[in-house]
Symmetry: C2
Subunit: 427 residues, 2 copies
């Protein structure tokens, strides 16, 4: 969470500052940069860390417990790999499915099956309801919002706090509106603001009373192992909390190795109560004769165990930390005294959220694009692409090289000053 | 297609034959076999042919045309791999998508997207229609039927002929019933009866007038390269025929490498008109940030080109042909003179269809199971598991070893004689 910007300059003194920003912007535009800070993609060096995967399983026999992993079958995924990620994702291995190369697919398919089948606890298919709504903590992840929009699921924004979504708002909405069937959560190092949910938030999510009998928490634990500091954040175990609160079927837990091993060729996971797992497996069994178990074996041989995941993530951290540090350093140096922006200092995950004066985010992104620095579109962090304050910018530092990132960040700060002082002078 | 059985024995002479069948069945049951002819799974030796895949791409740079195949992106799949299967599946590479490890998934997802989005040519989402029906040539593939059943799509059986589905029936049904939105087709070496569609059938499917504006042919070309003889069957190009007939969006072509390389770790394909491909890609873009392109690169490096596919399928044929020959030999020898059964002699694909006297298929499968030989459930070849004549048995010879297959087939023929003579005596 970043606090509110509060410009340090008076309108009177802004003229000179704006003139300087204009000159710097012209110089920036003249350089013809072509830099991209849009997506949370791993850099090539991060992918290189998993080079060994590209030759696996090699001569290792692709048969475990009498099951030929090369053949059809095994809808639940490789048990040994599920054991590893049981610990990472806080889901008992027996309730964890290992699937294809994307957890987004699993989220999509859970929505599809809820729309076209009857969820445990539901009275009817969601497709037969007049109105289905999801709570969307904002700022949030644009791909979650795109799934809702694609299926006509109404999105209700809920403000984020430093401890997770504002639970007073969440509790009121889920209690009074039976159309509210779900909430999107990125509980650790949240996309984009880096917030990790407090134990109290997790407990309240688990125990709150909901008007809908089939309410689901879509718990996208995408950054479960993606620490940036020496003190990894631990979040409370949602699945256990839901079970203990008498709502065992409330949690859908998602995770993947996309930002652990190879973004395009990893393994996705789904964890939930036995009833939910049986429901998804039954629906999946019509769709597929099993996931790519050879790729799961590859990951098992490469990562070995939960310690192996931790060691590997240390290597990822060594590559990511200098980039996140550069973002902080440049924002501090270039904007620290202007009061034109605030920003997050995430302890993990993939993003920094930059908050600019109301009404300026779109202008900053536009200025930057015209100068060759592409940012995530302003508004993408909000449902329907609509950030009502037009103040939130998501920065994704992972993909560019460090020198490119530094150039892009310098350019971005020029654009913030340009748009900020323009706003200040316009009154 | 197999013709009708016509028992050679008179009821009078059947008593002795039944007694003999009973004794043989007792001996069979006493052996305590445990054999499985249920599914069209490749045998381990077939999977061994693709052992090289397990070490690929190895040190090959996983970057083509500036795209890092390890990272997110590339929704259409690897262009070079699509080139190879463009030829195999008769779809221009620009209209062919390479996807995950299963074509069944693609069929499922096409149904989902048609239910929840609006198909090109459709007036509304299928989920908003009172009734959606599919034509199901019988005998057919149980997993196609399971998809329809799962989504509440009504199934209308259409009889198969030696040239494909009975087109007089098909043309009448699609012309008169606007609820009929699709037909399932396995056009080459069909599952389970081995029929390949004639050029005339393909032409009629392409040009027929349909009451529904969004009628789709689900063209599951699962055995496109899976020949068993020296004279590979060629079928007409449906996609081109549909375009030429003014129905460019009618064909959805599916295929995969599941029975070419690794059944569980292959690559699935979808081909169609540009409008259909754009529609599927747009929907898929919400679901996924791209397929596993590394697995596609593996397949590219292993298969190399369409000639490579042909050479590889020759090796598959060398393993499969003795098994199919054994099935024919044993059926001929054990049942040839009884008139109790007829069967297909497929020129490709994965199955033999055995037709027994009406009312006997369930009994044969039951007898066999009790004696330790598991067959595909009787009825599985028909919608809702209901073979109204109870006469069709699907034999899947690929998975067991040759000695196991021979034992299983011998056991099966005993069960056919037992059930057949029981029926004959019962009158």
């Amino acid at each position: 969470m970043s606090s509110e910007p509060s410009p340090a300059a008076s309108p009177e003194s802004s003229t000179g500052l704006l003139d300087r920003a204009r000159r710097e912007y012209e110089a920036l535009a003249a350089r013809g940069l072509k830099l991209d800070l849009t997506r949370g993609k791993p850099a090539p060096e991060q992918l290189d860390l998993s080079e060994e995967l590209l030759s696996l399983p090699g001569r290792h026999p692709a048969v475990t417990d009498g099951v030929d992993l090369r053949n059809y079958g095994g809808l639940h995924g490789l048990p040994e790999l599920r054991e590893i990620f049981a610990e990472v994702l806080q889901v008992p291995a027996g309730q964890l499915l290992a699937a294809g190369n994307s957890s987004l697919e699993l989220m999509h398919d859970c929505l599809v099956h809820a729309l076209l089948s009857v969820l445990p606890g539901a009275g009817s298919r969601w497709a037969d309801e007049d109105r289905i709504a999801f709570l969307c903590p904002v700022p949030g992840y644009d791909r979650h919002f795109a799934l809702c929009e694609r299926f006509g699921i109404e999105m209700i924004p809920v403000p984020m706090t430093p401890a997770g979504p504002d639970m007073d708002v969440v509790e009121r909405l889920v209690a009074e509106d039976p159309a509210v069937r779900g909430i999107w959560c990125v509980p650790k190092y949240s996309n984009p603001d880096g917030v990790s949910y407090s134990d109290d938030t997790v407990a309240r999510l688990a125990r709150m009373e909901t008007a809908a009998g089939d309410f689901r928490i879509f718990w996208d634990n995408a950054y479960a192992a993606h620490h940036l500091t020496d003190a990894p954040v631990e979040i409370a175990d949602l699945l256990a909390a839901c079970a203990a609160s008498g709502h065992p079927d409330r949690a859908f837990v998602f995770g993947s190795t996309s930002k652990i091993t190879l973004a395009g060729a990893g393994v996705g996971f789904f964890g939930a109560s036995r009833a939910n797992v049986d429901w998804l497996t039954a629906n999946n069994s019509k769709r597929s004769i099993g996931p790519d178990k050879i790729n799961q074996l590859r990951h098992l041989l490469f990562l070995r165990d939960a310690d192996g995941v931790r060691t590997h993530m240390e290597r990822q951290r060594a590559l990511l930390r200098p980039k996140f540090a550069a973002v902080q350093r440049i924002l501090d140096r270039e904007l620290g005294t202007t009061g034109l922006a605030t920003w997050t200092s995430p302890e993990g995950g993939y993003f920094v959220t930059l908050t600019v004066p109301d009404g300026c985010a779109g202008a900053v992104v536009r200025h930057a694009a015209e100068a060759g620095v592409v940012l995530t579109p302003a508004g993408a962090t909000h449902p329907y692409g609509d950030d009502p304050r037009d103040a939130t910018i998501r920065i994704a530092p992972s993909y560019p090289s460090l020198p490119e990132l530094e150039q892009a960040m310098l350019g971005l700060t020029v654009c913030v000053r340009l748009a900020g002082y323009q706003k200040l002078l316009a009154g």
